[in-house]
Symmetry: D2
Subunit: 312 residues, 4 copies
């Protein structure tokens, strides 16, 4: 199909041009397993609403989706307890780095939003409920597999073990919220859910395909999933827009104009409502913790396609 | 025209239903002149792209647009110095109240975004340049008149004088930025521009009409203005989305899904890109400083019309 | 001896007068075992340099010394690693509540001083070194017994167990410092040292006697102990003066003019250099977390005796 | 007299040894007039209680006492309104730099203590009352002259003018407190009192002599002044101890063990209660804003003399 071919050519061109850049940021080192990533890798995929997913570069290589998983666990938590979630976590941008504990103290253990680490730990606590970590994680994994239309999505246990060992800052956040009465489950069980969800391994192709359900809006059709209702897709996009790239969220909204969520594994999932989902990945991060090449690639693509929620 | 009639009926119905609510918030009292506003007043206007502006309730009553003026002065400052502005002010949500000085200290006098007071004072400083306050203000006023297609838009000097007398917190912000080297002009001149721009008096009809140029996107046609280019409209919308309602921005993005900017005079301007601009006004504010009835009315309207940038 | 008799009469008079006050503050409840304390209890003891300890009221009843233990563990840590300690913890007043985590984040895991919880946890980490918690705790206990001249000083294991279970905020602090590289030992072992040292149980008589070594200055004589050298006594007093009563330290320095250290068990140890040590105890706390009656009693005593380091 | 001679020799020896150090810190530059100071200058003076003031080095050269003036204005304000002052300013160490505005926001315009700039501005406001700035300043100047036993103490109008022009950060603090209702007088008048008091010019000899009234305690005799009562002297010393060297107060209390107050002009006034007052001066500052050589000289002197309030 012509559209597919055009998009293929465009993605190949972008990967070719950007993939050679010398400045590639730095691979995250605070989780030892992530430090092994190959900074030369770079992939992208676009999943058009109602069309087939198109891939370029290393778009079929698996990487650790890290914080991008927070979009999926949030959808599940909203499905579980609905708006009651918002009594335990806010919906405002934080203005602080993703792992800051300062805001938590000023606001008595209620994280500013579900995409900063503290907020995602509360979401993991909601998912855990009174189940075992494995049961809760199965549900997350099944959702990812279903949305990605690929049963091979799995949890990288080496990454999870690495996070569990070195995750003292997240352990501090969890204990702080426990002290403030905003954590119900056992700290180590909640953290196990959190660290393993972050260790889900996906390709750009899988991630873009999974994201298509967020882009599909009203006319979801074959992209529909009982967890990602139209209303919920809209709201997840709103949170991605205001809080998705941590303290670079405002700048990307300004320059890019579409919702996106990044992870320190180097992946970024961006949504063009009604049109497509984009997944890009390269392990080198900029100083805000977002993948440098993935961000560049997405910006190139949407500029070329004139995709923006503010000029439909 | 049928569309107009339908919209008229809808607005009248919303104003009728919401206008009778007992809980109306509280009128802002920190600027004495604003405290005189009549809390019973409530108006709304919608300016569809390519169509005539429709009004209901007190939609033709003048009110102080206050911080909504920051959208227009930002457009002018971007026209003056372009992206050089972003070296002096950030583009991130602040996570703090609109008049907080804490963030300024941590970030060495660079305000987090152009919609918090400190950021808008920097924008006023850019507009002032080496001109007199009156010359700078003339430019702001002419833009508002042009966009509103109404020469009667004017500055309420009683409100301006009231702000000038009681504005010690803004005076603190300005002096703090001067100390950090982020203010070029004379403090009192910069503050005069700032206080007078906030004292611009407009009706919902005028404000919605003025906002239409932000909604018109690529196909601006007769709504086009040299200051509000398509690119700039998109970016102003992005900032309104992430920072427009202070520390309720995230929540409105989540619930409403469209860009908006509020003022403590009780007005709110909201943009539905490609479709329409909405202006609503009622002087009673909620505890975040946004008009309670205006917010409700806009939410009712966009829910009914299914307007959201995340489900085009 | 006449001096002893005079002091006995004075203490009895103070206990009689203050002990009947209706306003007695509130017993700390965040450690369940402490909540059982009887708010009617009130004791005081004075240990003059070179004289016998004098007691009044419930001065022979055991109570949980809590944060007062930080003075003794600090002395041991200084003996262990000397001024190298000050690379891991500061010596400045914090201006924040005792369990604040905010300052820790701004200052990269280095607590402001050794008397806030985070600082005392670092001190416990130094004491633990590569030993077992029991070995480290034995050393602390032996010092307290030696200084108090009483082998019956012991750790209240019920209080310690209660703290261990409910200490999630301190667990947050410890994990946060671990994340910042300022904790060497296993978190749970360090916390065990910390919680058990806080659970040391002493009487006013024992505590005042133990404090005498801090008051004895140059002419320590029989009060000398290899851990509490003259230099170290002076410096511990300085830290008690600036940081001993958390965010009421400045006010007590102003009103009282002598070094003191309080604990949430309701005890306060105060030092009059060259003259005496004072220990007072009553479980009701004021809103800063210091014992209301103990503070009043000490202020009465030193006003009457004209004891102040600023008018020798 | 032998004592005098011994002290003279000691001071001469200290000035000789320390005065040649290569590392001398940096002269304050934010007040242009201060930037002209000669970094080679270095003086010291000691005023023993009941004895004659002894001087070494540049101990008779005038310098700008800057924040040391806050001790004298505080004494006057306490004389004016007594403990009512403490409803408008706290007595706790701040844990923040001297010109921080952050604490002011968190604590609603009530400065943490009278020695940080905001607190001293409140004190200046109390002194101003409904008088002219000149009348209030006359009172300050007369007190300094009287305590220094030297009518030649004066205000350096060039320094004052320089501060008035560049004092935007202090202007920010004053306006912020005005906004919070904690400033009664006209901002510019209050600031004039503040800037001129900081511009008082004294020599080490004058300053040490003036400080003797703080050291004289109960037996003030000929050093007595109606403003510096024994009670007040004790309390001023307490505040100097906990807050006198800004965020190096705790460290100096620990290392030095006596009350002191510094100024960015390079002067330090230290008090040894019952024994002597010390004034040292050299314009080069360390990174906390305290004179590097003056601090060293005072530490050498008190170590040699074994002067400390904690080992009388």
């Amino acid at each position: 199909m012509k559209v597919g071919t055009e998009l293929e050519d465009l993605l190949a061109e972008i990967v070719g041009r950007i993939g050679d850049l010398a400045a590639r940021g730095r691979v995250a080192t605070y989780i030892p397993e992530l430090a092994n990533a190959d900074i030369r890798q770079f992939g992208i995929a676009v999943a058009p609403v109602g069309g087939a997913t198109v891939v370029a570069g290393d778009g079929d290589v698996h990487f650790s989706i890290q914080s991008i998983s927070k979009v999926f666990t949030l959808a599940l938590a909203l499905d579980r307890i609905g708006s009651a979630l918002w009594r335990r976590v806010g919906r405002e941008p934080s203005g602080d780095p993703f792992n800051s504990i300062v805001q938590l103290e000023y606001e008595r253990g209620v994280p500013r939003n579900p995409f900063i680490n503290a907020g995602a730990i509360v979401v993991a606590d909601v998912l855990l409920d009174d189940r075992t970590p494995n049961t809760a994680l199965d549900e997350v994994l099944r959702l990812c597999q279903r949305l990605a239309r690929d049963k091979s999505v799995t949890i990288d246990q080496k990454v999870a073990a690495s996070e569990m060992q070195t995750g003292s800052r997240n352990r501090a956040l969890a204990n702080f919220m426990l002290a403030e009465g905003n954590l119900k489950g056992d700290v180590e069980n909640v953290l196990r859910v959190y660290f393993e969800q972050c260790s889900i391994s996906m390709t750009c192709r899988q991630l873009a395909t999974a994201g298509r359900s967020l882009a599909a809006c009203e006319t979801q059709g074959s992209d529909s999933d009982p967890i990602i209702t139209a209303d919920r897709a809209r709201r997840l996009c709103a949170l991605m827009m205001t809080c998705g790239l941590y303290d670079a969220s405002g700048e990307f909204a300004y320059r890019g104009g579409i919702p996106a969520k990044s992870g320190v594994g180097g992946g970024i999932l961006a949504i063009v409502p009604g049109i497509a989902a984009i997944a890009a990945w390269s392990p080198g991060l900029d100083d805000k913790g977002n993948s440098l090449l993935a961000l560049l690639a997405i910006e190139e693509l949407i500029r070329h396609k004139r995709w923006s929620v503010f000029s439909p």
